[in-house]
């Protein structure tokens, strides 16, 4: 179990992390969702020991690891750009940790070869061992980076946007494979990403990092359906967040959120009774294949999005620039306390 308590890190005037409290349980796929610049990579670098926190404690299973040199921490790190050793072959890359680690390196070549080959088979690289790392594809490099880390059997594996450098098809396949590989090895993965779909698909648990703090850490469906605060909701890219005062009808005050797919549109003044409603101008639509997204501008300038599924269309024909009523069921509303 990896535990971070009150971890802070500043770069000059910029605060990257301020008092992060975070737990990655045993045998878990944990996704960490954050916008670019939210401090995700910094968090991983602190755990791996490439940098040290200004304040706070990092520990694994109770022993404190901050302050320890990174090569003795026994933590795996998969780099976004893979960071393969360019002068070594695929097999030499994978065997590097086993052969050259300072703590308990393997000396028997046969054992190194066996473990390297087993791991390459696990990630689907059998037969590529003799290739130069410059002579393989992006997806294969990703596998080398993963195999190189996993073969050392680290206590936890940190993945820094591991799918960012891959194209869309490959990304979907690697998602499944990463999950399967993790389940076979039983080690915890901490996967950092800026994509909410990736975070929700991959994670047994998903944490949202914003403003240098963990906003919420929950199971994916829980997080998606019941975000605990406006920040968490904003990162899911599925919630309209606006002031309750915009709505007609009996709505409480403060910041509220309603999911894109739980909002309906009707002609101005035609909103059904008993449903909170607000007036907004239709801006434009975006057709995404199975779904269509419509953008509205509320009276205070807030952008609202309504999602429509092609198989069950429920929106009327919309004319750009015209005003409509947007309404939703009272129970679809989520209210946040405190500042947004």
């Amino acid at each position: 179990m990896l535990t971070l308590s009150r971890v802070s890190r500043r770069y000059g005037e910029t605060v990257a992390l301020s008092g992060v409290d975070f737990v990655v349980p045993e045998n878990t796929y944990m996704s960490l969702l954050g916008a670019s610049g939210s401090g995700k990579t910094t968090l991983l670098r602190l755990i791996a020991g490439f940098e040290e926190p200004d304040q706070g404690e990092i520990s694994i299973d109770g022993d404190r690891i901050d302050g320890q040199p990174s090569h003795l921490r026994d933590i795996g790190f998969v780099f976004q750009n893979f960071a393969l050793f360019p002068h070594l072959t695929v097999a030499e890359n994978v065997a590097f940790g086993l052969r050259y680690r300072a703590h308990a390196p393997l000396t028997k070549e046969a054992e190194i070869k066996d473990r390297t080959e087993d791991m390459m088979a696990l990630v689907g690289l059998s037969g590529f061992g003799h290739r130069a790392v410059s002579a393989i594809s992006g997806g294969q490099r990703q596998r080398v980076a993963l195999a190189r880390t996993l073969v050392c059997e680290p206590r936890i594996v940190l993945l820094d946007e591991p799918l960012g450098a891959l194209d869309a098809n490959l990304r979907a396949r690697m998602c499944d494979e990463l999950k399967a590989i993790r389940e076979r090895l039983g080690v915890s993965f901490l996967h950092v990403t800026g994509s909410e779909t990736e975070a929700l698909t991959m994670g047994d648990k998903v944490a949202v990092l914003a403003d240098g703090r963990i906003m919420q850490s929950d199971a994916p469906d829980m997080l998606f359906n019941q975000p605990g605060n406006a920040e968490a909701a904003r990162h899911l890219n599925a919630w309209n967040i606006f002031e309750a005062g915009l709505c007609r009808g009996d709505v409480s005050s403060g910041t509220i959120a309603v999911r894109f797919d739980q909002m309906d549109v009707s002609a101005e003044g035609a909103a059904p009774q008993g449903r909170p409603a607000l007036g907004a101008k239709y801006l434009t639509g975006e057709f995404n294949g199975p779904t269509a997204l419509s953008f509205f501008r509320a009276d205070d300038g807030t952008l609202l999005q309504v999602i429509d599924h092609l198989s069950q269309p429920r929106l009327p024909d919309l004319v750009e620039g015209q005003r409509y009523d947007i309404h939703f069921a009272p129970q679809a509303l989520r209210q946040f306390h405190g500042a947004a």
Binding site: F50, S70, H71, N81, H87, Y100, T149, C152
Partner: protein, 303 residues
């Protein structure tokens, strides 16, 4: 109608793609021409002339174009000349090693530990500052440093470490080695720094994350990745040191005779054929050294 149009199509001598290719080829040739002409007239032709002259007949004060191998026989059987070859090779090897020993750590510091590009450039420029003065001044400046009443001897005597001045410091092979190392070190630092600067820092972090200590990372990652820089630096240093004569002339007190010094003195006494023989021998040695260096590392891969 269709037959006619096919005919005209075939009659067109060049397609646009062919014309473009032709134009590209012409541009490439016009870029190459000045360099090729220069190389031909001022290198290939003189080189051939030197080889030719080495077979001319040498008399005491003149040389004539009757072909003979006498100069070659004289050169290869003379202990003076053979020992000059040996001295040249020995000094080259020692200077090569000492420039690596002094230069590599400097390059390691600038290329790997300084990650700010501006500071890196500033430090590299600082390495070149001695070159703002002339070669001769740099060489002769070693005399007041190393001489019997020079700075080093005075300081060591003042400190009471020695009671008599060290005489091996100046006008010896030692002073030649010191002078050459100082002058040529920067040619080693430059290429190595360049290669080290190209190493992705995350590659080193990855090795650290896999459990390797700094020593292991240096041996297994940093050193192999910077080796092409060492080879390029070694080629620069070798070419310059093997052809050297000025450092030896002004710092050795005529005790060290390099092939370069032999050429200078032979030309001075109008022994053109002997000088040509020494020149050819020197060229062969330099070619062999470069060929060997290029065999060690495949530079094509690094470009």
């Amino acid at each position: 109608m269709s037959a006619l149009s096919t005919d005209t199509h075939f009659a067109t001598p060049h397609s646009p793609a062919e014309l473009r290719e032709k134009k590209d080829r012409r541009r490439a040739i016009s870029l190459l021409t000045p360099g090729l002409l220069w190389m031909f007239f001022f290198m290939v032709l003189p080189m051939a002339m030197v080889i030719y002259v080495s077979f001319w007949t040498q008399t005491t004060f003149s040389v004539n174009s009757t072909l003979t191998t006498a100069s070659w026989k004289h050169f290869l059987s003379s202990a003076t000349y053979l020992s000059a070859i040996w001295t040249t090779l020995r000094i080259w090897l020692i200077v090569l090693i000492s420039t690596v020993v002094v230069g590599y750590p400097v390059a390691l510091f600038i290329g790997l530990f300084v990650r700010n590009k501006t500071l890196q450039t500033a430090l590299l420029v600082a390495c070149v500052i001695p070159f703002w003065t002339s070669f001769l001044i740099r060489v002769i400046a070693w005399r007041p440093m190393l001489g019997t009443e020079g700075a080093i001897n005075v300081i060591l005597m003042k400190l009471g470490i020695i009671s008599e001045p060290l005489t091996f410091l100046l006008f010896s092979e030692f002073s030649v080695l010191v002078g050459m190392t100082q002058i040529y070190c920067v040619f080693m630092v430059g290429p190595i720094t360049f290669m080290l600067g190209r190493i992705d820092i995350s590659v080193i972090e990855a090795a650290r994350d896999l459990g390797a200590s700094f020593g292991t990372i240096f041996r297994r990652i940093i050193l192999p990745l910077s080796l092409p820089g060492v080879i390029v630096g070694a080629i620069f240093v070798s070419v310059m040191v093997l052809g050297e004569f000025a450092t030896a002339a002004s710092l050795s007190g005529r005790k060290v005779n390099l092939l370069g010094n032999i050429i200078v003195s032979q030309v001075g006494s109008l022994k053109w054929a002997f000088a040509a023989v020494a020149g050819v021998v020197l060229t062969i040695i330099i070619t062999a050294v470069i060929a060997l260096a290029l065999r060690l590392v495949d530079l094509r891969k690094e470009m």
